[in-house]
Subunit: 178 residues, 2 copies
């Protein structure tokens, strides 16, 4: 399975890098996508290479979408291709893991109506206005959607994200056998 991380400059470093290394630990190929080629720089100064621009991404190639937080989602949400990718994942019921400000992208893509989720406190009113059912918990799983609030929630976020990866890998194996 391949994983897609969509982010931009001013990402929250641990919210991108911890899932990035975790997915690689599990043997997944991880592709980082942003508006431009080159590198993106986190709020704490970590630089991450951009593998593909948003325009180069074929969303069907990936088994999971990860949306880290920080200030990056504020610029990603303005990109129609990013919103189209998110919608493709929801349409296909493929897992989407978003943390902190990450759910802003899903709000802009109009994907939160009637969905249970969490996010950083400052984004709570916005996700409710978009029809989301906000809960103040370390992690919320609603179908294909896994959300967390902040870096301190990463252990629970990783645990639930990896459950989705394992379920997706099992489905892939069945498809290969058939």
């Amino acid at each position: 399975m391949k994983a897609l991380i969509i982010s931009a400059d001013e990402f929250e470093d641990t919210e991108l890098l911890v899932p990035y290394y975790r997915l690689k630990e599990a043997g997944l190929e991880v592709v980082v996508s942003s508006m431009n080629r080159g590198t993106i720089t986190g709020l704490h100064g970590y630089q991450v290479a951009v593998d593909k621009t948003l325009e180069e991404v074929d969303s069907g190639d990936y088994g999971i979408l990860v949306l880290p937080g920080g200030k990056a989602p504020g610029s990603v949400r303005k990109q129609p291709k990013a919103l189209a990718i998110a919608r493709d994942f929801f349409t296909g019921n493929r897992p989407v893991a978003a943390i902190c400000h990450g759910p802003q992208i899903l709000a802009s893509a109009d994907l939160l109506k009637g969905r249970r989720l969490t996010c950083t406190a400052s984004v709570a009113e916005e996700v409710k206005a978009a029809g989301g059912l906000y809960e103040d918990r370390d992690v919320v799983v609603d179908g294909n959607l896994v959300t967390s609030r902040q870096p301190a929630d990463l252990p629970a976020f990783l645990r639930r994200m990896m459950e989705q990866v394992e379920a997706g890998t099992a489905v892939e194996a069945i498809v290969v056998i058939n």
Copy 2:
């Protein structure tokens, strides 16, 4: 199982935080120890709470020791208690996972004679001088010792570190049953 991370100011942020969150994901209690109470600050500005001073640590309480890199090992290696803790882990054949400059602490504790390991390139001569058998690979496992070179090696480092945790947890379960 409980995990012990020993570090200090100017740690390499991802080399501490990525294993920290990974071990918590697996359900371990993770204790961070340093010279003083309060917080330690990484090279990229992340602050991590110190749970115990080195003097407060009873090394027998922990199933795995993690030694992140950055500049922190340069000060940790001057602490006799830190060296004594590392020696306790080796004496008990309990896992020790060290990355980047982390193996400097093991060199100061005189624990590297005849041991296969890796580390950041600038520390290679020093670990050889301490009797270590240096290899330039993403991860080297020699008995209880797991070592890696740099943040990019974290996926392999985590994979091998978690194998040691799982083996240790299995042993704990057997001890409980008996």
